[in-house]
Symmetry: D2
Subunit: 324 residues, 4 copies
């Protein structure tokens, strides 16, 4: 028996990665795809490597009134567009929203699946975390839970591949200008800060007032690495042990002795975390790595969909990262 799923926002990078994962999923069957720029074309026209059984599926113009029978809808729409677009989707259709509109909305579970799976199971509306929160909170959660760091004094320096900027045509993301260029942006006012601060406070019970968050665009397609500077007197070993305990039995978080690299996660739903501490300086450095389109978007979304459908959390997500 299969579960009928749809994707809206198939033209974008998140939607494309959702397609890739769903096409190999043992239970999910893609029966609907909607897109803006690609409406009217066949899946194979936009994704030449799609399996033959999906090749002829015609990409629809999004219209919640004319959806086919669906069990789950993956929404990968620009932040600001999904709230209205999804409001009229029938309640019977479970939704995982990869966009930013529902991450602190009543009635939507926050889909930090590796940390709070029990808050997601049985839900029908899940808001997928942003890619930056996925990378940073996975590394911070064990330290916050065990009170090894001060929640109010955290500096997050994060680096992301350019697919994180989405598929818009802005020439500043053009190859010639982005290649060989490292670009800091959104200093002291990045849109992801409230989501991260809110979750730090939930995880710690304390205030995240001092949070600093600085994103940088790096000339690579995929990958996020967060270097997080915290205050605390724990040793490196205590931090690693806390993380291993915190994620014991969880499938997608790997705690490593040496600092992780973005390529370790490419194409997968894995998160890699590590720590380096210097108690003499009251310093803990946490490092988190994810694929911004995997654990940072579509991989986490499929994991959330598995949870709300009562499937094994790892269904369709056992791919080994692509190397090199």
């Amino acid at each position: 028996m299969s579960i009928r799923v749809g994707i809206v926002g198939i033209s974008g990078f998140g939607g494309g990665e959702a397609l890739r994962l769903i096409a190999s999923h043992p239970v999910f069957e893609l029966v609907y795809a909607a897109g803006e720029s690609s409406a009217g074309s066949r899946l194979v026209d936009r994704f030449p490597g799609v399996p033959a059984r999906l090749a002829e599926l015609v990409i629809a113009k999004w219209d919640p009134e004319t959806l086919p029978p669906l069990d789950v809808l993956f929404a990968s729409l620009p932040t600001g567009a999904s709230a209205e677009a999804l409001a009229r989707v029938p309640k019977a259709v479970k939704i995982v929203d990869l966009g930013g509109d529902h991450r602190s909305v009543e009635g939507w579970a926050y889909g930090l699946a590796d940390i709070w799976p029990d808050r997601i199971q049985g839900q029908v509306r899940v808001a997928n975390p942003g890619c930056f929160p996925a990378a940073t909170l996975t590394a911070l959660a064990p330290l916050l839970a065990d009170k090894l760091i001060e929640p109010g004094n955290i500096v997050i320096d994060v680096k992301t591949g350019i697919s994180g900027a989405g598929r818009g045509g802005d020439s500043t993301f053009g190859y010639a200008e982005s290649n060989e260029n490292l670009v800091p942006y959104g200093l002291l006012k990045h849109v992801h800060m409230p989501e991260i601060a809110r979750t730090i406070e939930q995880l710690s019970g304390g205030s995240a007032a001092g949070l600093v968050f600085t994103p940088h665009l790096v000339p690579m397609t995929r990958g996020i690495l967060a270097t997080i500077y915290c205050r605390g007197s724990a040793t490196t070993g205590q931090c690693l042990n806390a993380a291993r305990r915190f994620y014991a039995g969880r499938s997608f978080v790997r705690v490593t002795d040496r600092p992780p690299q973005t390529k370790w996660a490419t194409g997968s739903n894995l998160a890699f975390i590590s720590y380096a501490a210097d108690p003499e300086r009251n310093l803990v450095i946490a490092i988190g790595v994810v694929d911004n389109l995997g654990k940072g978007a579509a991989g986490q979304a499929v994991q959330n969909a598995n949870l709300i459908c009562g499937l094994p959390e790892t269904a369709g997500l056992d791919g080994v990262p692509v190397w090199p």
Copy 2:
């Protein structure tokens, strides 16, 4: 029931990609890995994203005398090293050699799986084609079989990602020198020419005496694109139709109306081919695209292993290409 497989040459790019594919294979179970530079370390030390069940497997120093019970051995050794290394492997162990030493050796089937699957089924020794032959011959085969082009007058201009150069430490393949650099090499004397010429002659029954083959290193990690200039009076439509007939019912070759791009194949075992012809100029341009580590190496090797094990040809190879 599972099939026990081993990999020798796990440290290299071909061996690593074989590991990735085997780890997700429904029937193959990796029970042995051998490597030079990595001997003694655990798989997880070299491949941090490997599944937990394989993480602790210790990489052995290669020794054909001390192999565990194996059904299939994938050999990904430098050309020149595999002939001797594999000579003492027990006959009962099926071998797929990704290296170049056995491609015209008595007793070894030439593993051009999409074209000659029947020559591979039932064999115990298969020599995997090189990455350049895989890309070029897949595009040429239908034209040669239907006599649409002159076998003696073919110019192959091929472009490859840098992983095709292997994992040696030569600083000319270092990032700083390879990035933003396009490098032609091996003019008029590339090692792959005889393999391609021999197969053109088998496919056409004619002489490939005039063959020209020029490889170029392109600043990307994966991917091969061959632009092949042929003489013939067929139209574009006739070439496309010949290819669609030739590969009818085959799983991994996609014939496309528009010229393929390397990213279409990334991470997959797919080959994309297309044609553009100008009868007035007696010209046929054939284009072939593969992932040099997929169809050009480990993907084709797994396909060959499926064939010699009597499994469905597509087992473990249904992954959708990674995009972007």
Copy 3:
């Protein structure tokens, strides 16, 4: 005494490179810059590294009626836009048009400066060659002049960095989609073919009817490499000697024994050419390398401006290529 120059199309890559070269030129003084997207901003806002003396120059909206006193105007406008835009520029203002509109127009000299400097000296209107013609014709000219190859049987396989596509916002040139992707385009119908065919015929006196030209987009910012397959019975040595004679005393063409690489030319006005021939197969391979923004655009334009202003051809063009 300085020569007052202006640039129209400063926002684009060609205009930006012209700015870079003019800013270091011993005689040219930039007194005017016009652009579309950048009109109203200061040079330093668009080019943060511009010298202090140019920083405050405000980019004008293009209007030929309100030009300041100018000796030379560099026009780097999209093909199709320059014909009209330049028609009303006063005759007293010398023009070098980097765009494609005037390359076969009465009254405009064709600025293939390394080959025909005498056709450019003393002119007031020069049409700069395209980047593909610059790379290919530089390598072909000596062979055609000495009748070492058949003009009617030439196959040009050319690879270009993505800046060659201009600075448009087309998402297909976005970093995430262009990186790790090799893209053939314009098969059998590229816009540059007539320009190349016309010049081959002028250089050889024969017909270029059989010309084949296939461009490929390569994931790098700068650089063009043309691999050219010709018919002829000359040896490699004869081709190299012909080239060394042909370019004897010329400053910007380097004839090399080994095949050139694009990085050799990066940031310079140099062209590198080499040959590999096999008389037994009646084959000559010519290779040409340029920086598409240097010799392929702004470098050649400054060289042409030097010629029409009676300056040393090398003025402002003696920069050594950037490596790595």
Copy 4:
């Protein structure tokens, strides 16, 4: 009258960039080049774009006993190798050491040229700062001089292009493994920390005990960007004004309102710095950008050589950055 200069370590990236700058220098004349891997070959064999007048210069095997008459020697040797190599160079030969051995050695001036030109003028031995110190100290100096930040509480998160790792053949710096990979390293124990701490203390008069320094390898060839988190109550405007005062009249430091990007500096000796502060959080973020081979190595070295030779500081360093 010209000044005779030599380069030892010509095979490396720093030596190659020194060659590029010296070849265009109005006064320096390159009369000697020594290298390890390249000894015996001509300059043109290693640098195909070198000017004709330098092409035939044969690269020597380094031997301080057999130096030709030299005014200035640029040494770009691996850290650890230069102390001994330079000990026997005649006192009459001025030396600028790009390596790390002399940065806190008696009798060697520390060549932080934009900050302490007067400590360099008239010297005969100058130790060029490392690339990381060049990027970070340029941004920090004005804040430390004006006591706008606490010297004991500075977190430096720095990102560097891969040429910073030098030209060794380590396969982990190979293109296939470095591309699409972001790699943190040297956590809590990077070799550059003492040099930065020492200079912070000289600039501030306080202790740098709390210094945190985390480098990351970014998949690009050139460029360094340092994101520096400091404690202080100044506003953004106060920081920018302090920097503009501190560098008033200096040629190579650009203070910008918006955060700089690495591409702004590519190929130049410029440093770009900017600040973003939040007094409510007692936070000052300083950002510094340089080309690791320009201001971070050879550009700074030529600037130091100009100073010790009594030349204008900007001689040979007025090149505009390469864009795109």
